[in-house]
Symmetry: T
């Protein structure tokens, strides 16, 4: 299809610290670098990326609601809210577009409370453990699902 696809990329709490915070877990790439990489990759597929990060659950929900019908897909790393926020889940479940959930670290190798996600069963699929590449794989998966 030849229409430009609009993708919203959402980063949850503390992801603005990427590259500085606990690099042995989260790597040294910054969030700006990730966003740039995603924009680059999207361009090749005639897609447009808009990015949003916040430490506020409410601000994330506001942004997702506003995106509403103006996007074709959503890529999200919900950060710590993955494990605690039913409100974020509900905002995502209210979207009519496919959602891909990504995580930088392999959450199965960490504390037990990181094993449960409120988002996974309202997402199309989940990618976890590949550092910054989790995002680019996620974008690829999302574009692929949208092009079908």
């Amino acid at each position: 299809m030849s229409r430009t696809l609009r993708i919203l990329v959402v980063h949850g709490p503390n992801l603005n610290l990427l590259g500085t915070r606990e690099p042995e877990i989260y790597g040294t790439t910054t969030l700006e670098e990730i966003d740039a990489m995603l924009r680059e990759r999207a361009k090749a597929s005639r897609a447009e990326i808009e990015s949003f990060q916040s430490n506020h659950e409410g601000a994330l929900i506001d942004r997702i609601q506003q995106a509403g019908s103006r996007i074709e897909g959503l890529l999200i790393n919900p950060g710590a809210l993955t494990h605690t926020s039913v409100a974020l889940r509900d905002a995502l479940a209210a979207l009519a577009v496919p959602i891909v959930e990504v995580h930088l670290s392999n959450i199965h190798r960490r504390e037990a409370f990181r094993r449960h996600s409120y988002v996974s069963d309202v997402a199309l699929g989940v990618i976890t453990g590949f550092g910054a590449q989790s995002y680019s794989l996620g974008l690829e998966a999302l574009l692929d699902a949208l092009r079908v």
Copy 2:
């Protein structure tokens, strides 16, 4: 008693989407329509309604704290925060006025994690499952409790 009763109505995250979001679960009435209906009904009982919706837990708590001693009762649909927010619970428990908790959908027919409420045991009572009417029944219950 002849004094005008002041009631604060609080709507939690994602309830601003009412009427559009998953209508098979939440119905087609909008939040504005619900607020209007509540104002109408309150007027008949010489009560005044003030409404507040936010996707931000913190904003909901701020609003409840500000209401403080200036209200006689509180009607709340905490949305997804019902199941996750101890902070909201604490803000409610700090109020000296009766609280009624309402839910649009029957939370007992949904995911297991929706069965537990942090609010119910600091509320006077709970009404769940009657769509928009849950609010008007809740207002009636609250006014009744206040008039005694």
Copy 3:
């Protein structure tokens, strides 16, 4: 619609003691007064109320089965059977009419074993904690659902 609605009101075990038993939990209104109040309210909506109380699970099930297709709605306070009777649940699930579950006390403020209800997910909705008024709110909710 102009047809007379027939409503069966069912009271579970120990509710015949209302007004005398643990009044600090259940209030001072008697079951007769509640039934009278419901009949009054129903009349205003051209509905007819029939009431039944028993301490026998089997008798409650018999009565619900006999009501069968001769009623349009059911209002039930299952009392302690709320938490233990799958047989009562099955009798209710076999009914083709809407069911509203009510409780006098706020079951969320009591023993942990009162937090689970076998009835809630076969009911339209649940009202809990408003004393005798739980019944009148429940009747209103039921009539409203039937009039739609």
Copy 4:
């Protein structure tokens, strides 16, 4: 050592109500009085205190991130977020300075859900149950750890 130590004091949701909210649990000292007391005590040890309270999880995280490398220690009463916020925990874990967690009330004497803390295992230590004095003991512990 003779350098001035900079300490950030963080107060979670509803702590702005201190002195008025449920005084039988939380005491009658206000938050302003606690902050003044901490400033006084810090001065004696050539330390500087900066205080921050918010009902917003996101605002607390923002503030902790901004403190970043500009502080030598952090004293926090996470309030209700103690029990629910992985995002706050992650913000604290990303700090390179020692953290002391304090609680006014003895959380072991309250509801079961207050027994678990997401903060305790990223903190140096925990002090709970001594009312306003929990803060001054916490400050003392923090200064002591920093002076070693």
Copy 5:
């Protein structure tokens, strides 16, 4: 052996509704048809069937006790009491004859609370999921056990 075997068939709560209640789960055969089918089958094996249905746990127990030493085997579909009645279990455990437990629907495909049976470990065996045929298979199993 040439003696006539006497078999008591016991049907628990709501089974009198068979054929009308939730036919997509329980099928369209009535309880009378099942009893007739069992009597027919028994006759071929020189056995006699006596049937009893009640919605009353107590009445079921009374009937089982009265059968006492006057029967050689018992076939029971305890219905919802399967999952909740220790009293029924005790009445069965007090019998000296073999017991076969049957269920119309496959209880493993239904709600989690239907997975546990208080009867199964005092029974000889269990047959579940074959609709009305569960009864005839159960009778066959019982007769076979008695003929050995």
Copy 6:
């Protein structure tokens, strides 16, 4: 005190079988013998015993309600209802007189599901494991509590 004390003795489901049912667990004394023994013992203390056994939860509740203010104490062996009946518990909790719970067998040596009692925390005390003597010890305990 010289007034005659009236004691209601309540026996739950299957206890009418005493002496015949599983004697290796419950002993060989019949219920009639137990009642006679209790009457004898009561007489010596100027007390009167009235006994009631039923396999029907509802009948037990009816009887306890009727006793109401006409008795000074209640001795109960709830049988299997011990572990399953909230309704029986509620009927007992509504009584204003002391209650003693007894069991023939030592329930701690049996199936795990017999370890929990819905009655014990509304009773004055519990006696378990001494066969028929559990009843006479229970009566003694009850009379003692009433004479104080």
Copy 7:
């Protein structure tokens, strides 16, 4: 219907030991005798039986896959794999024909870990506890379901 029905009978691990292994639990009939009995019974209904036993989970799955569309029904005693094999469950779920699960012993009277079956909710029904007769009842149930 007059077509010959083809039935695959599958026996899980250790069932080749039947007749010798723990006869107090599993009886003295051998697997060959069971297969012969089933063939005999099938013939009377114009059905054909093919039997397969293996101690290898993989071999059982291979065999079930190969049967594919060439059978009309499957009778299985999964043995110990009942409780542990999701792979076997998946192979069964992929079949388009009805499945009947049987067990020789009454699994409800044995170790707790034998109470859960991964197979039961993908089967039509379950028969447990009747020794070798469980198989013939299971075949009868299967043929009956296929003839309808």
Copy 8:
């Protein structure tokens, strides 16, 4: 029988405080008074009482072992060790004589961790909730069991 029965009475930790410690839970009778009462009662039945109290688990076990074959029965209030000591349980299980377990307070009305006893299933029976009288009822039960 005419032989003198020797009974060892064992009191666990903190029972030496009886009469002073938390009298609203444990009553005002002292341990000396209880022992005197038991000796008196025993004398009437030609039995001899020896008492032992210790706050040391090890001392209690030593004493029970020494009693060995020189006693005919044991009456024990294990106090807090009821809920934690497998070693005490093992010492009791090694005795060849009947054991009666008693508790002053009704342990079912207290903290959840007091609901489990390591002693109950190696005892003949249990008496709980009757204050000092629990001991005399326990002695009576023990003597009765020994006289049979």
Copy 9:
């Protein structure tokens, strides 16, 4: 780097059925098509793919052990063994090369027992829910990790 990378692709039980088995869950692409697609993609990155499918846990382990030091990376869809096989996990943990775990369906939307994986915490990362594309994303992630 210019060396050819050797990748082993392992498919667990029932994956040979792909394209025919439950296509509404697993899609219509066959395993051969997936393998061809992976070979194609690998060629572009100068990598070589070898594929292996088996329904036998032991055969999968044998194959993984044989690969030993002759491969640079492993891509695995363990199928149902994901949830049950510690032996497969151990074989993977013994490998010195990076492992990527993939699943066709979103396992978070299915039965609860599919939520736990014995493989995830010995893998580099996990990709779930994107149908056949899960494999190509996994290969990409693996190659990327190897090229670093």
Copy 10:
């Protein structure tokens, strides 16, 4: 107030090893040094310290009972008994004076079984994680509570 306060300091099992045992967890200060430090600090507040360490639960209980009414406060590090001793808890609960619980290490960073304390909810407050300083902070908290 000008009266001399008497404080009992109690050290549980293995604390006599302080300074030598696992110094990476417990630090290098010896128990004698801690006691000296506490005596010093107490003197400044006109308080007297008496210390007691034992590896015997019973000896600790004996000592606490003897202190009885002759002390004004108690500072305790129960060591491993924190997690296992209901008897110690009961001895503490029987005291009429305030109790402060301290731990050298942060028990929230260690094994799961160290997360539960039987002492915390009978203490005034708890201080954990500051090494030897936990004791001095605890003493300060205790003196403060006593001076009010």
Copy 11:
């Protein structure tokens, strides 16, 4: 006794890798060396060793069944099947000879899921944590049991 004892030694999945796989957990001795050591040791006691290793659960079961009555004892390291295989357990339970279970590593120091063994309660005894020596101790224990 002078007869030659025949012992079957069974090694579960991945044990063929011994000496190479994760040597920090499993040591550097190879399986061949262990078998040689066992044969040597057996010879001294006039016993004969036969060894078998497989990664296939089914092959292990086949081998154990074939050993049947031709061995006097079995020494097994079930590897990962320890924790997951009920089928292996059943094969072992069907043997009439004593079984000794051994583990190289101390399974109590590893992942939680390695703490449960399906084999231990059908074995004579268990030896864990002594590396290759676990096998020789196990053989000694087995021979000792057989010589008695």
Copy 12:
């Protein structure tokens, strides 16, 4: 090495009863015989054994602490304290020498509460189920570990 190894053998509560207490579980060998056997065996390896038994947790801990650096290894059967004593565990963890845990009976065949050991993960290894021989195997394992 030619130095004499000093081994402390520790026996927990009730082990002094060996040979008399429940011989069907613990065998008929006395503790003296076990100690003699161990001394004999040690002599052959130029090792010296010192034995200690106590029913007092505190005395066991005292003894282990005193052994301190004067021993090279410790062999312990903690008896019932295995399952309940964190204090004993801590005393063992503080030792710098290898520890072997032994049990006479197979604890996996007994009550569920005997399945957990607080000692196993601070021990080198565990031997359970071989009666008195568990001790000699344990000594052998310990000597072997020390000789390496």
